[in-house]
């Protein structure tokens, strides 16, 4: 690992050096480090690029880090990672991708992450995307996440993309069995001419399943964001999705929520709000002594916290 790669790792995974527990670090398409534990195995796929992360039933309080860094201009890759989490687990999975592109060609990471979460297991999945580099080449990330939650499984997914990714298409698809619960928190900020599309498609198939999707975003400059969400209530279930966007400068934001209730006891709610920073919020913080720029910064950083 070189300095640039180490710095990307710090940005996306708060990692300084080697993490504790199981990990797999991928740098420019090569394995740059791996550790497995008694309960967590990581196996390289043989038929396509990617890894299988296999977590034994009953694994508690363990974590897996699987960061990806790209620092080679013009490098593009497509990676398939599968997570097989056994029953009765309580684990944290930290993924993330950092791209440093100082060349003129596009650098791109496309990933498909598929989760199988066993009965009664609780998983926290954290994913951060970050780009940097002064080249003209675009930094592109297209993550697809597929979630299968077995009975009473609980997944918390936190994804953040605050800086430096020129183009992103996120697609998150999930199905929930009886009693399963899915909480998604997504934070996105786009600048310049960046484009971000995020799409959710969730099937609440089991009785008493529930999903809560909260997407908060800030679109600045000339950037563009599209938010699509489809929630299908196919059983006695509760679904809530919320898209809350701050729009600034010449940016555009589109929110297209769709709810589909296929059971009389499905209770589905969507909230969407797009607007600029409220003038009274700016004024309040200025009466506390902040300048206009400081007030704006505080409001945005709080909003995306």
């Amino acid at each position: 690992m070189d300095m640039i790669q180490e710095q990307l790792l710090a940005e996306i995974a708060d990692l300084h050096g080697v993490p504790e527990g199981a990990y797999n670090i991928r740098a420019n398409g090569q394995m740059a480090g791996r550790n497995t534990t008694a309960n967590i195995d990581i196996v390289t796929k043989t038929d396509k690029p990617g890894i299988d992360i296999i977590i034994k039933a009953g694994t508690k309080n363990e974590s897996v880090h699987i960061p990806v860094v790209l620092s080679q201009a013009g490098y593009t890759e497509m990676v398939y990672n599968d997570f097989i989490v056994g029953e009765d687990c309580d684990v944290t999975i930290i993924a993330g991708c950092g791209i440093h592109n100082s060349g003129d060609q596009e650098a791109r990471h496309d990933g498909i992450h598929e989760f199988h979460i066993g009965k009664n297991s609780k998983v926290r999945y954290v994913e951060k995307h970050y780009g940097q580099g002064d080249g003209n080449g675009e930094r592109v990330m297209n993550p697809t996440t597929i979630l299968h939650l077995d009975e009473n499984a609980y997944l918390i997914m936190e994804s953040t993309q605050i800086k430096g990714v020129d183009s992103t298409k996120r697609f998150t698809k999930g199905d929930l069995a009886a009693g399963a619960r899915l909480d998604i928190r997504e934070n996105i900020m786009t600048h310049g001419h960046q484009v971000a599309t995020t799409e959710f498609e969730l099937d609440l198939n089991g009785d008493n399943s529930s999903a809560d999707v909260v997407s908060r975003s800030v679109a600045r400059d000339f950037s563009r964001q599209d938010f699509y969400s489809v929630m299908n209530g196919n059983a006695v279930c509760k679904g809530h999705s919320e898209c809350d966007a701050i729009i600034m400068d010449k940016a555009t934001v589109k929110a297209s929520p769709a709810l589909s209730a296929n059971n009389v006891d499905a209770s589905l709610i969507h909230e969407a709000a797009i607007g600029k920073i409220a003038g009274e919020q700016m004024i309040k913080l200025m009466t506390l002594g902040l300048t206009e720029a400081e007030a704006e910064e505080r409001i945005i950083s709080g909003f995306l916290k």
Binding site: R216, D244, A278, E280, Q281, I283, K284, L285, M286, T287, L288, G289, L290, T291, E292, R298, I299, S301, G302, F303, L304, K305
Partner: protein, 240 residues
């Protein structure tokens, strides 16, 4: 010392409306109450002093310095605080964030708790709460007052601080003002309809129809205000 010299505020929205007409006064009293009927221009006056609105005519001076053309931020940094009548909610900012911004430095947990306990809020339950729609109007009002306590400026303007604090008591609110007076030795200016707050004011300014109807020491103004005057019939209703 706050001084207003011939301050007027006119809005032109199709037709010209004079919200405030030729207001002049000077005060360094520790507790000044501004009262009068709704629509009389009280909140506009507060916003002109805080810099949220700019007078169309006249000058505003703080300790002899002309602040008429200063921005909101500059006035805040020069010692003016303003507690809104309708406190503002923020998605994502916590009570501690706001108290820290008000204090101008990162406040520790115990410092934040101390300020919140002054306004009767059980601090532990609130420090990390977001100042969003989940807080009630009364809670928002008290957090607004707590920010003023954290700021400790020489001029503190409160716009109807009593509205919505029913769960708390006037006695506590008055104690907060007294404590601020002891600590800061500045001027507290309160827009109010409440007799109990008027009762503790050093001086009272009555604003009606955009003009100073009368002003002076409490002893001179208050009796007439409550008993005899038509301009303040609204005030009387509110007090009852």
């Amino acid at each position: 010392m706050l001084e207003l010299r011939n301050v007027s505020y006119v809005v032109n929205d199709g037709e010209t409306v004079e919200i405030l007409k030729n207001i002049s006064f000077r005060t360094d009293d520790r507790f000044v109450a501004i009262t009068g009927p709704n629509g009389g221009g009280k909140s506009t006056l507060a916003k002109l002093i805080a810099g949220i609105l700019t007078p169309t005519e006249g000058q505003i001076l703080l300790d002899g310095v002309d602040i008429t053309n200063m921005s909101i931020t500059e006035r805040a940094q020069n010692g003016i605080s303003y507690a809104f009548q309708q406190p503002v909610r923020f998605k994502g900012l916590t009570v501690r964030d706001l108290i820290s911004i008000a204090a101008g430095r990162k406040m520790s947990l115990s410092e934040t708790c101390h300020v919140l306990s002054e306004v009767g809020i059980c601090a532990k339950d609130y420090v990390d709460r977001e100042v969003n729609a989940s807080l009630s109007g009364g809670e928002m009002k008290r957090i607004e007052i707590a920010m003023m306590l954290a700021r400790k400026t020489k001029l503190s303007i409160f716009d109807e601080p009593e509205a919505g604090i029913d769960l708390w008591s006037f006695t506590n609110l008055i104690q907060v003002f007294e404590k601020m007076n002891q600590e800061i030795q500045g001027t507290i200016m309160v827009i109010t309809h409440q007799e109990r707050l008027l009762n503790v004011a050093d001086s009272i300014i009555v604003l009606a129809d955009g003009k100073i109807d009368r002003m002076g020491p409490r002893a001179d103004i208050l009796p007439g205000l409550l008993l005899y005057d038509n301009t303040c019939s609204l005030l009387n209703e509110k007090v009852r």
